[in-house]
């Protein structure tokens, strides 16, 4: 972030128009604008780069991107789409939002840790543990009143995720163990624990399907209601409201509470936080507990909303922890940004999935194209310099066009230094 500010600061100094307005006001304005512009530009660059790869391998990038876009269901938002096309679009958009629901929460789990100066790679494990507990609670306790059952399952999954992440928090606080390593280890332990539970002969395997490595199915009373679309064709469930509500909670927690303040202080400078009387270790533990709860609830919403059961294979191939990291990074670890990034990644996942039959090229190719685009996005997010330079170059060209050509002032000489 400091690098970003450096760039903006220098830009404010160099910019020819800066003298007319207060430099501080200008910087503040640009910093606010770049908070939105940079992520968007980053995404655009990544898509262009992906398009070049499509082009280089002999496919048409425009038709590819059009069919990806239609596959996401976002064309439902256009009023001129009608009839059968509209029905398909609605179905696709429901899938996009279903994906975004969990991505948002896992993203928040990573983002909260980032704000406290920690790197939570453990979203995967926290999600897995939450899923195990959610499917167990959801498929047991028959006869419980529906609202209570759903609440119980979600809370239990959140607690499970919190405990799992809490292990890493406690280890960091007490022994100084690096959370990157401990969360990676906890991911694998959670995955093998899940496989153990649901594999053939495992303790939680579905007793009615002896030859399938799958959990029992969530009881009808423990399922989240479908709010849009068909309940048999995986319509959008009410989980998205819980997810969005938790995003609001995240924003309030970070910006309006003592814990949020402490977390940000520890994240900014643990040493200074200690001088200010903040116990960094305790803050780390609290932050990890909250992160884990977010990820655990994400799994519960998936299980109770549309998955209803857990295959060992699902556990092993799930990549949601890593998507969560990408979502948090692109969303700049803010509540609003994470929501937007989650919708983008949800759309990418849906638009490139096998079920998108309108694709003009091999869907497998497109899936891997998505990975490349995501990789480029994350690389660009890791440093704002490239995007900022482009932004700066663009503005300078704009300034140069607006001003008379005779006017001296170095409109673009050092734009690409």
């Amino acid at each position: 972030v400091s690098l970003l500010e450096d760039e903006l600061e220098t830009e404010a100094e160099e910019s020819p128009g800066a003298a007319t307005r207060s430099p501080a006001a200008l910087t503040a304005f640009r910093r606010g604008a770049s908070g939105v512009t940079v992520p968007i530009l980053t995404t655009v660059i990544a898509f262009i780069a992906g398009g070049l790869i499509v082009l280089a391998t002999g496919h048409n990038p425009f038709s590819t991107y059009t069919s990806i876009f239609n596959g996401t269901g976002l064309n439902w938002l256009f009023p001129w789409v009608s009839g059968a096309e509209r029905a398909t679009a609605a179905g696709n958009l429901q899938q996009t939002l279903i994906q975004a629901t969990a991505l948002l929460l896992v993203g928040l789990a990573v983002a909260f840790a980032f704000r406290a100066g920690m790197f939570n790679i453990g979203g995967q494990g926290q999600y897995t543990v939450g899923g195990i507990i959610a499917v167990w609670v959801g498929s047991s306790f028959a006869g419980m009143p529906p609202v209570l059952h759903v609440t119980f399952a979600i809370v239990a999954a959140g607690l499970a995720g919190a405990v799992w992440a809490g292990i890493a928090g406690v280890l960091k606080a007490v022994t100084g163990a690096n959370e990157v390593i401990s969360t990676i280890m906890l991911n694998w332990i959670a995955i093998w624990l899940g496989v153990y539970c649901f594999q053939l002969g495992g303790p939680l395997q579905n007793p009615h399907m002896a030859s399938t490595p799958v959990s029992s199915t969530v009881l009808p009373g423990a399922r989240l209601p479908v709010i849009w679309g068909s309940s048999t064709l995986q319509g959008l469930d009410a989980g998205i409201f819980i997810s969005l509500a938790l995003a609001v909670v995240f924003g309030l927690l970070i910006n309006r509470t003592r814990l949020g303040y402490e977390s940000r202080t520890v994240g900014f400078n643990p040493e200074a936080a200690r001088y200010a009387g903040i116990n960094a270790g305790r803050t780390w533990i609290k932050v990890m507990l909250i992160c884990g709860a977010f990820a655990g609830v994400a799994a519960a919403l998936d299980i109770l909303g549309w998955k209803f059961s857990l295959f060992t294979n699902d556990i092993q191939v799930s990549q949601i922890g890593f998507y969560g990291i990408a979502v948090a990074l692109l969303g700049r670890n803010t509540a609003g940004g994470t929501v937007a990034a989650a919708v983008l990644f949800g759309a990418l996942l849906t638009g490139t999935s096998d079920r998108n039959i309108s694709l003009s090229i091999d869907p497998t190719l497109v899936q891997y194209l998505t990975f490349m685009i995501e990789g480029i996005i994350i690389l660009l997010v890791s440093t704002d310099v490239i995007t900022l330079r482009l932004l700066k170059g663009g503005r300078r060209i704009g300034v140069a066009i607006r001003r008379r050509p005779s006017d001296k002032g170095g409109a673009s000489e050092d734009g690409a230094k």
Binding site: S182, W188, G201, T364, L369, S382
Partner: protein
């Protein structure tokens, strides 16, 4: 100062650290005695040993050795569980699981790809650049290794092409983290996604749904003439892959390079105090670039071992998190080649064990898969809590 009374603190008799280590050893022994070749068939000796281990651990905690003490207790508990499992299972089962010669051979097979990547990590992080992208670089070596071996009909070219691909991807990471001063962990993650995309895309593009061809030229195994049929040694080491030997040879080689040569010293100085290195005229950026690119080539070699050396084909996301395990092994090994080797052997042993156990009891085998990770977690919390990474690991260098 009444020696023998329970009130005496360990510090007066023996140092708490030694006591804790003794506890660790006793705890581990509790399990060891129940498995072949010792193969005690009753649980009693194990319980006694584990209890002694736990008491030693607890006692050392009162003496101030908290981490190791807790660890000794945890190890004792795990060992009793293991001992119960082995005593309850049949004698023939035990014999078939603990065929030590085959276990050693399998451990080496599983450890080899990890070892290359972990050594790559040692090089990169010694120069001060965190490399979370090891996973992606491995994956590149994995796919392009097969591609090269297929296209040029020789495993030598496969390995070369694989290493070049890993080096190229590492160069991207180097550019972002050194030149653009990116957040190195984030950049490494981007690298992993990028590699997943590139390898998957080109697998589909070149080979389509049928996958890679079957008759790939593969890295040969080294059949050592003298010992190949000599019992234990023959099974364990007589038929190991060429790359396994290369990996093992790299450990002392890299240690010598890092700690006994001029360029090794320079590499480490850049990772510890880049400002000082710059002041005496060392090209900080250049050394870091070289280190990251070489680390990518090492990781890719590990990936190439998986595809060209072991399996003979490529499937999507074939490395399946091994790069992250290698990263853990490097940290577990305290950023040193020998440490990384032991850690990789531990992970390899865990995999080999779970393979063996799965063949007898699939359910239990799954739990064994998790064992190395649990051990690493315990170790990260205790033993290596005290180790430290290179002082400037992860910090971009800005020249003034």
């Amino acid at each position: 100062m009444s020696v023998g009374s329970f009130a005496v603190t360990p510090a007066e008799a023996v140092s708490p650290k030694r006591l804790a280590i003794a506890g660790l050893v006793l705890g581990a022994l509790a399990w060891v005695v129940t498995i072949p070749p010792i193969g005690v068939r009753t649980i009693v000796p194990s319980i006694v040993l584990a209890a002694l281990g736990a008491v030693a651990g607890a006692w050392s905690i009162t003496g101030g050795e908290r981490k190791l003490g807790i660890e000794a207790i945890i190890v004792s508990v795990i060992a009793v569980c293991g001992a119960v499992a082995s005593v309850k299972s049949g004698h023939s089962t035990l014999e078939s699981v603990f065929t030590w010669s085959a276990l050693v051979a399998a451990t080496l097979r599983y450890a080899t790809p990890l070892l290359f990547a972990a050594l790559g990590g040692v090089i990169s992080e010694s120069s001060g650049v965190i490399n979370i992208g090891l996973e992606g670089m491995m994956l590149m070596g994995c796919f392009w290794g097969i591609y090269g071996a297929d296209l040029l009909h020789s495993w030598v070219w496969g390995v070369v092409v694989g290493m070049i691909s890993g080096g190229l991807l590492a160069a991207v990471h180097a550019f972002f983290s050194i030149h653009l001063r990116a957040n190195q962990i984030v950049s490494g993650f981007g690298i992993n996604f990028l590699a997943l995309g590139i390898t998957g895309y080109f697998l589909e593009y070149h080979y389509g749904p049928n996958g890679t061809p079957l008759n790939i030229s593969m890295v040969p195994n080294v059949k050592i003439p003298g010992i190949q049929h000599v019992g234990f040694v023959g099974v364990a080491f007589g038929d190991a892959n060429l790359l396994t030997w290369v990996g093992l040879a790299l450990v002392p080689g890299l240690t010598f390079f890092l700690f006994r040569t001029k360029w090794g010293l320079r590499l480490r100085s850049v990772g510890e105090k880049p400002r000082a290195a710059d002041t005496v005229g060392l090209p900080v950026m250049g050394i870091r670039y070289a280190a990251v690119i070489v680390s990518g080539m090492f990781a890719a070699l590990g990936g190439a071992y998986l595809s060209v050396g072991f399996v003979g084909s490529f499937s999507n996301d074939m490395t399946n998190g091994r790069g992250f395990i290698a990263l853990a092994a490097m940290i577990f090994g305290k950023w040193k080649p020998w440490g990384a080797l032991w850690a990789c052997l531990l992970f390899g042993f865990g995999n080999a064990m779970s393979d063996r156990v799965s063949s007898v009891n699939p359910t239990l085998g799954t739990l064994f898969e998790a064992l190395p990770y649990v051990l690493t977690l315990v170790a990260v919390a205790g033993v290596i809590g005290r180790s430290r990474p290179p002082a400037s690991d992860g910090l971009p260098y800005v020249r003034e």
